[in-house]
Symmetry: C2
Subunit: 443 residues, 2 copies
């Protein structure tokens, strides 16, 4: 251990230089930006091999984003859906994890620039993911927070439960100030999951918690600009999801664009007509854009970005003219700017991560990179207890069966990240008791 | 429901006026400040009876403070040791919960003043607890955060784990900047629990997580100004605790006063000599003082406060000359200013809460209040896995047996608050895997 630590000491003149514990001096240095599904799968696929891997993330944990909405609605705690990156990679002695923020790339010098140092690389894998997209209305961010990080989820949780607290304090203000009106903007999977979970919260979990209001009086609006919710799914499933949501008490409004947010006043345009509504709580699930690292890649390599800032990559996921820079996950736009982009799903990022690792290892053996092909495992969206929609390509399901598949798939993903047992128990617990132990207002 | 809600609406001209759902008009109105052990036990003991109870707390949850250090050290998530007050009291239809902040008392007008309203009472129960005490060095608060709230625990967690992250990034700075030096100030139960948990973290949990440092190189200092740690315990148990801690790698220093904190520089005085040490992470466990509500009570009633701001109450826990104002828990100093104060333990607050409820119900029957008598159940402090000390009065234990008692007692307390199953599982899980799934750096 001392030797290793010594070598780290020597190397660390450059803050964050090549790490100790690497297989051998002069090993191929891979630097990965981002510890999401893409980055983590790249590191894990490279781990057993004689490569010197450094994974850089702003946070010290991997976040299982698909369940973030359950943290926001008080079903799960942050710890249930996040795993310390060091824990996940502890057995991979050739992988060093740095909690650091990437600020840019020096493509010629082959260095990743950090806010507090730099990292030399032989191959750079950029898997920095996405952030919220307010389509030019960045001012909306404060009034309508999105759901991307643990902090986002806790902020949403805080707003959702504070609204009920304020209503109990001031029942006479519920109507005029829309204290119990909740507007979810965006009818994609996240919006549907949030709206469904909030309906269960208001009609179920909180039913007996208040004395001066009825939590079931809460109005939950799901606002979608397009003609139907879950646009990524077949029409039949969209319809079934919409039907199920309205059964649960969610007011689903499609073809409804949000044109202004001036909390608690919301301006909408539907069928060409302007209207306003009052909602104390507004949640943003309408869109994401590439993280700033996309622009960093473009600046450094001259790569093109698509309309939401994703890097347009070669079929093998490398940046045009820069085979030593690979972009994967939500940040990558493959199939060219015209072709239908791949959905921003965990399986895409995972498969691209493994592909990036294979590409690197093939090159080390002097073999050419292969084009990436997405093996579509299908898409899932959960609406609520016993209710989900699943499009597995060969079959389309909804209701309990789809929900069980959803549970199974998510638990299975979590297996990698050591929390699955607890999450399963937590779910079971909540399912039986209909309780939400995690509905704390903090921060 | 409508009727009740209507009545709530009518009543709510005064923000936070008497709640709907109360047993009958004109019922005796009890207002409780604080949802800790004292306040919650008062409310629960009054719940079945024909009394109109309003519980006011700044937070929407009851916090199981004895396990806060496990949140700080990444064993448990906030949701595991906190229960929504509304959930705990949901079946008590005569209890209304308000998330609000008490700002003062109008003893003549019999109103509790809130930052955003007021609450009339017939009997007021003040159970506002304690906050950190820096003995006049309030400036230390930023450099040496204490452990009283969920936010405190998450801040401590953030500091503890960030220190290891910084060391991995910059091994050459570990020595000069004391990146891996952790100083816990205060050798009471909290300090002992924190120091022990951090030793396990550094020597166990994180052992394989780093490549350029050895987490076991962390230096954990426990600094106690008095002659021995756990001063509240018999000397024999203090000695055994100190011995066990040093076995775990904690440097226990008694008779050592902290005279200055200028992070990362710490000034100490031991045996009359000044010395300094460098520690990036300093945790405060040295003392608590009464919450500001103590002064509010004094201003409103002329009651005396003791040296740490506790309200000196009558033997029946009422404020002298104000039988309608009862002070319980850590905020109350009973037995007069001279007599040995009761320890700031959950059992004291619980018993005083039940006693306050009995006093109120006796008065309603025209019977006089009885003096409070503390039934001492003993004291427990945990040092680490399989290690604790227990002073049950009739027997003194240490080691595994004491630890098992500690586990049992804490789980049993949690039973009231519906999280015990999950916490038990979480502990078992961590115990088997030695993992800390909750070691996220957030906020």
């Amino acid at each position: 251990m001392h030797r290793r630590r010594g070598s780290g000491g020597r190397a660390s003149g450059r803050a964050g230089g090549p790490a100790g514990g690497r297989p051998r001096a002069g090993a191929h240095r891979v630097v990965i930006v981002g510890g999401g599904f893409g980055g983590l799968f790249t590191a894990q696929a490279l781990a057993p091999r004689g490569v010197d891997v450094t994974l850089v993330d702003r946070r010290n944990f991997h976040l299982f984003q698909p369940l973030l909405y359950q943290v926001a609605t008080g079903v799960l705690s942050p710890g249930d859906i996040a795993s310390p990156l060091r824990g996940v990679l502890r057995r991979h002695l050739n992988v060093t994890v740095f909690q650091a923020e990437a600020s840019g790339i020096d493509a010629r010098g082959k260095r990743l620039l950090l806010t507090d140092g730099e990292l030399p690389y032989d191959t750079l894998v950029v898997a920095a993911g996405t952030t919220h997209h307010y389509f030019g209305n960045e001012a909306w961010a404060a009034a309508a927070p999105g759901l991307k990080t643990i902090e986002d989820a806790l902020k949403l949780r805080q707003r959702i439960f504070s609204a009920f607290e304020a209503a109990e304090r001031n029942p006479q203000r519920v109507e005029p100030e829309g204290l119990l009106n909740f507007a979810v903007i965006g009818g994609g999977p996240t919006g549907v999951e949030l709206a469904g979970a909030m309906a269960e919260l208001a009609r179920g979990t909180l039913k007996h918690d208040f004395r001066r209001i009825r939590s079931s009086d809460a109005v939950i609006l799901l606002l979608e600009g397009g003609p139907r919710i879950l646009p990524g799914f077949p029409e039949g499933l969209s319809a079934r999801a919409a039907h199920r949501l309205s059964q649960m008490g969610v007011r689903v409004r499609t073809g409804t664009l949000v044109t202004g947010i001036d909390a608690p006043r919301l301006t909408l345009r539907a069928e060409g007509r302007e209207e306003t509504l009052t909602a104390r709580t507004v949640l943003w699930a309408a869109g994401v854009k590439a993280s700033p690292m996309g622009e960093a890649v473009a600046r450094a390599t001259g790569a093109e970005l698509d309309s939401v800032g994703r890097v347009i990559v070669e079929p093998d996921l490398t940046v045009p003219g820069h085979p030593d820079v690979i972009v994967i996950g939500d940040l990558a736009r493959c199939g060219g700017a015209e072709g239908e982009p791949l959905p921003g799903l965990a399986p895409v990022a995972m498969q691209q991560g493994s592909h990036a690792a294979r590409t690197i290892l093939r090159r080390l053996k002097g073999r050419p990179a292969k084009p990436f092909r997405y093996r579509n495992k299908g898409a899932l969206a959960v609406i609520g207890r016993n209710a989900a929609v699943a499009d597995l390509g060969w079959v389309r399901l909804s209701g309990l069966v789809a929900w069980l598949i959803w549970i199974f798939v998510h638990i299975r993903y979590l297996v990698e990240f050591d929390n699955q047992v607890l999450v399963l128990i937590q779910w079971g617990w909540n399912y039986v008791t209909r309780k939400r132990g995690a509905r704390l207002i903090t921060g």
